[in-house]
């Protein structure tokens, strides 16, 4: 057992030591007051310190990027060891699966053919959106209850606030702040994230709200008898103009009174590379440039937003 600090630092009759101890207490009280002030400012106006955060996340980019690469490498190694151990059983399983897959493939071809015919009939054409940037998720706020991820691409690759971020499986989130070579992404599981969705297959529209714990609340817009079932897949509806319609969002796991609790399809922990897509309807850009925290509650909008309505 060691004698603790205060006993060692009894200042006694030394004026210098007394002043030193006193200054320390004054400073720590000032620090607490400063903390309260800064916290209030950043809760009221969340973008205030985005420049500072961006500067530091740019500066630490190389390390984060190297780490993200190492992370996916490590995962690959574990996968291959596991694969080696399970090779025999897997071989048999795969053979069976290939048989089934062949049948399904034939079915899918037929469906595709029919799809093309129907689409031609409707005069629709599939437009493949070219992503603005493809980058790694280099980190996340994994110790905070807010759900942010950090992206290894920023303004220099054309990433702007509001742009949707998706993986090959589905929506991951949207860009909240972009600095030169990094960006902060608001994940769809964050409790401030709301996403207009519809059920795949019909037009049951709903809002997908993050809960902060990795799950999503599906809130139906038309209340009545809850038509949802476990296993229903929700995709983006395109309402609001931010997200392209038809991207997978979540899968229902449990029903509630006014909707359901759903699991996200594109888990950021399993995501390596993500694509940043342009805004679906650029007209909605002005609204999207306002971070979600600000559009809630207050009418203040950032930069150009406030002047534009007067110009029109």
């Amino acid at each position: 057992m060691a004698l603790s600090g205060s006993k060692q630092r009894i200042s006694g009759h030394s004026k210098k030591a007394q002043y030193g101890a006193f200054t320390g207490y004054v400073l720590v009280v000032l620090a607490i007051l400063l903390g309260i002030a800064l916290l209030t400012v950043s809760l009221v106006q969340p973008t205030t310190f985005s420049g500072l955060r961006g500067l530091f996340s740019d500066a630490t980019q190389p390390v984060s990027r190297a780490n993200a690469a190492g992370r996916s490498g490590g995962r690959g190694f574990i996968d291959s060891v596991q694969g080696f151990l399970e090779a025999g059983q897997q071989n048999a399983d795969l053979k069976k699966e290939v048989e089934i897959a062949r049948i399904r493939l034939a079915e899918a071809k037929a469906v595709e053919e029919e799809n093309r015919r129907l689409k031609a009939l409707l005069g629709l054409q599939t437009t493949d959106v070219k992503p603005v940037a493809v980058a790694r998720l280099v980190g996340s706020s994994s110790s905070s209850t807010r759900r942010f991820a950090y992206l290894g691409a920023g303004r220099s690759s054309g990433v702007k606030p509001g742009m949707p971020v998706r993986s090959e499986r589905g929506i991951v989130g949207r860009v909240l702040e972009a600095s030169r070579s990094s960006a902060r992404v608001l994940l769809i599981t964050d409790s401030e994230s709301v996403l207009p969705v519809r059920r795949a297959g019909d037009n049951t529209v709903a809002f997908a709200e993050g809960r902060g714990d990795g799950l999503i609340n599906i809130r139906l817009i038309n209340l009545g008898i809850n038509p949802l079932k476990r296993g229903d897949v929700f995709v983006t509806s395109g309402a609001g103009g931010l997200y392209r319609p038809g991207i997978a969002v979540a899968i229902v796991t449990r029903l509630t009174d006014d909707g359901a609790v759903a699991r996200i399809i594109s888990n950021p922990a399993a995501t390596d590379f993500v694509a940043v897509e342009p805004l679906w309807q650029p007209d909605a850009r002005r609204g999207a440039a306002t971070p979600i925290e600000e559009s809630l509650g207050t009418n203040d909008t950032v930069d150009g937003g406030a002047q534009e309505p007067e110009a029109q």
Binding site: M1, L3, S4, G5, S6, K7, Q8, R9, L27, V28, V29, A31, I32, L34, G35, I36, L38, L39, T40, V41, S42, L43, P46, T48, L52, R53, F56, T60, V63, S64, N67, A68, R71, V138, G139, S140, S141, S142, S143, S144, T145, R146, R147, F148, A149, Y150, L187, T189, D190, S191, E192, R211, G212, D213, G214, I264, N267, P268, A269, E293
Partner: protein
Amino acid sequence: MIDRRAYKTRRGKSGRQINRDQSPFLLVVVPWATILLASYLQSIPIATAGPLLPPLGFLFLLAWRLLRPGVLPIWSGIVFGMCDDLFSGQPFGSAILLFSATMLVIEIIDIRFPWRGFAQDWAIAAGIAVVYIIATTLVSGSRLTLPLFASVVPQLLLSIVAYPFIAFIVSRLDRLRNMRLRTIA
């Protein structure tokens, strides 16, 4: 001030330690660097869907402060908090407030209970960590719902379990900090 520790370390296995002194650079840099680095590292290992990782920067601060009381000045919470705020995803200012408050609270505990063993330190760290994590949830700016608080529980338990490991790392780093590298004429 002459510490008992100083005499002990002079009795090294090799005679070369006789005219060596601690490096003033390491004495200061090791604790500061490890806490700042831990604050940054908590953002990069994994992109999780919920809060899971213990607040590493905060736990390192606790461990240094509880194991080596004289090392960190009482006002240092402001510097560590600022760094933590940049990477943690919390609104800016929350760690400045909570880290500084923690330093003050430990100072008060130090005055009240100057003699402590590791078990007491662990209990103090666990208590403070629980309060800290709940406080960060309250000020995080997220909608406060029951599932959100439920999702914090694994992180709480992990933080309590992680403290002894972090304290072990800190004690090893302290050995590095006290290495006698500087030759005195």
